[in-house]
């Protein structure tokens, strides 16, 4: 654990981790502020309701995003266009440090996702939040798994078009959920559990693939 933390800090310092935690806190602040605002009684409630059911799910897209930030911060050091590429490759045992940093980034991402999903769940208990916390957890796990698969790929087409469908999926999921909430329906439980199962499978496969191949890919550059 200590080694993992040290390896992570060799590459990014404390900078990236603090940034992501701060962004998470910023989102919590936004959610809390909007919840408090929506509790204030106003004459015209249509705008507040519309805001909650349509605009707010866009914020929950942050959970899939947190799978990308921390991992890409480490993976980018295996790309020759990144400043510091040669320096980090010249360090002794840099391949081991790279593998440990990836493991640490995955661990931190998982912690952030658990925090985010818990916050999302607490929010959905108190306010009529359309997107199920399980769906956003599934999307976050799916993004993290795919980011692990494409971490060392340099082709921009592959990188962008493999992650982009997840964000489109997140948009569609929040749109459908909002529409269903207006009709008084919910996404069926079977769909939620199947998507969560698929996401966990992709996440585990991505993690195993990344840890198994990262040393070889670091040495190849």
């Amino acid at each position: 654990m200590k080694d993992m933390l040290r390896s992570f800090r060799i590459f990014t310092g404390n900078y990236t981790l603090k940034t992501v935690f701060q962004m998470l806190l910023a989102f919590v602040a936004v959610f809390a502020a909007i919840t408090l605002l929506s509790l204030i009684p106003v004459e015209d409630e249509s705008f507040a309701e519309g805001f909650l059911t349509a605009f707010l799910p866009a914020f929950s897209l942050f959970l899939p995003l947190c799978g990308v930030f921390l991992l890409n911060a480490i993976y980018s050091y295996n790309n020759p266009i990144t400043p510091g590429f040669k320096y980090f490759h010249s360090l002794p045992d840099s391949d081991t440090a790279y593998a440990q940093a990836i493991a640490a980034a995955n661990l931190f991402t998982l912690i952030i996702m658990v925090l985010g999903v818990t916050g999302h769940y607490i929010y959905s208990v108190f306010a009529p939040f359309p997107l199920s916390p399980m769906i956003s957890a599934a999307l976050a796990l799916l993004t993290t798994g795919i980011t692990n698969f494409i971490g060392n790929v340099k082709n921009q087409w592959v990188r962008i078009f493999s992650v982009m469908p997840i964000f489109c999926l997140a948009g569609f999921a929040s749109g459908f959920s909002s529409a269903m909430l207006e009709d008084g329906e919910r996404i069926p439980d079977t769909v939620i559990w199947i998507s969560l199962g698929v996401a966990i499978a992709v996440y585990v496969a991505g993690l195993v693939y990344a840890l198994a191949t990262c040393k070889k890919k670091w040495r190849r550059e």
């Binding site: 900078y15 266009i81 400043p83 320096y87």
Partner: protein
């Protein structure tokens, strides 16, 4: 110029595909505005003016977000020898060029559309007012985001004013516009760009004095 070259090379040459895709989105938003154009008195009159700028903001922010990894997020760039000029000149200049540039492109396209299709110039001046507000927001938030340690937090709050426009702008204005003459619109836009650029340069000077992003002392570097 060296730092500007570095920033543009990092955001446009290395990530040309992300830029291309978001620029296609800007063009698509413009085409939608041309097709679904509403005249004064309609409820959606001002929505046509806001939409392309919201997408243009996304184009600018994509550039800023990818640059975080190369400027403040990169461990070596925080203490590189070009750090002083990067932080006090490069970043505010880059944000001004990107923010002002995309707003300029959108406004020119909209002006050509209005003149070609015979709409009056009040449409253009209404567009320019929103353009001024969004461009100022983009320039200042981009500078803060790229210059402060952990500054990417700015990106989350920078979107909020666009979402709050429904509260700020009264109903009558949504239907009939601001009714300003064209010269006033142009003046507001240019003024907003200049003022926000000045604020960005001043802010980055102050931030550089406070933040710990300094080049390493040369005595610590071993001779080859």
């Amino acid at each position: 110029m060296k730092v500007l070259k570095y920033l543009f090379r990092r955001s446009f040459q290395s990530r040309w595909l992300a830029n291309l895709l978001t620029f296609i989105l800007v063009v698509a938003a413009m085409v939608l505005v041309f097709v679904l154009h509403e005249d004064r008195g309609s409820e959606d009159y001002l929505i046509c003016k806001v939409t392309p700028h919201a997408v243009g903001m996304m184009f600018a922010f994509i550039n800023f977000i990818v640059l975080i990894a190369d400027v403040t997020g990169n461990r070596l760039m925080r203490s590189a020898p070009i750090s002083p000029s990067l932080r006090t000149f490069g970043i505010p200049m880059y944000c001004t060029i990107i923010g002002g540039g995309i707003a300029f492109v959108i406004n020119v396209a909209y002006t050509v559309f209005c003149l070609a299709s015979g709409h009056d110039v009040l449409h253009i001046s209404d567009m320019l007012v929103f353009s001024a507000a969004v461009t100022a927001l983009v320039i200042i938030s981009g500078t803060l985001c790229l210059n402060i340690a952990y500054g990417s937090i700015v990106m989350i709050y920078a979107w909020m004013p666009i979402g709050l426009l429904g509260f700020i702008v009264p109903d009558g204005v949504w239907k009939n516009g601001f009714g300003l003459p064209l010269w006033a619109g142009v003046l507001i836009f240019i003024g907003a760009v200049v003022v926000s650029a000045v604020i960005s340069f001043a802010a980055s000077q102050i931030i550089y004095k406070k933040v710990d992003f300094k080049p390493l002392p040369q005595t610590n570097v071993p001779h080859a």
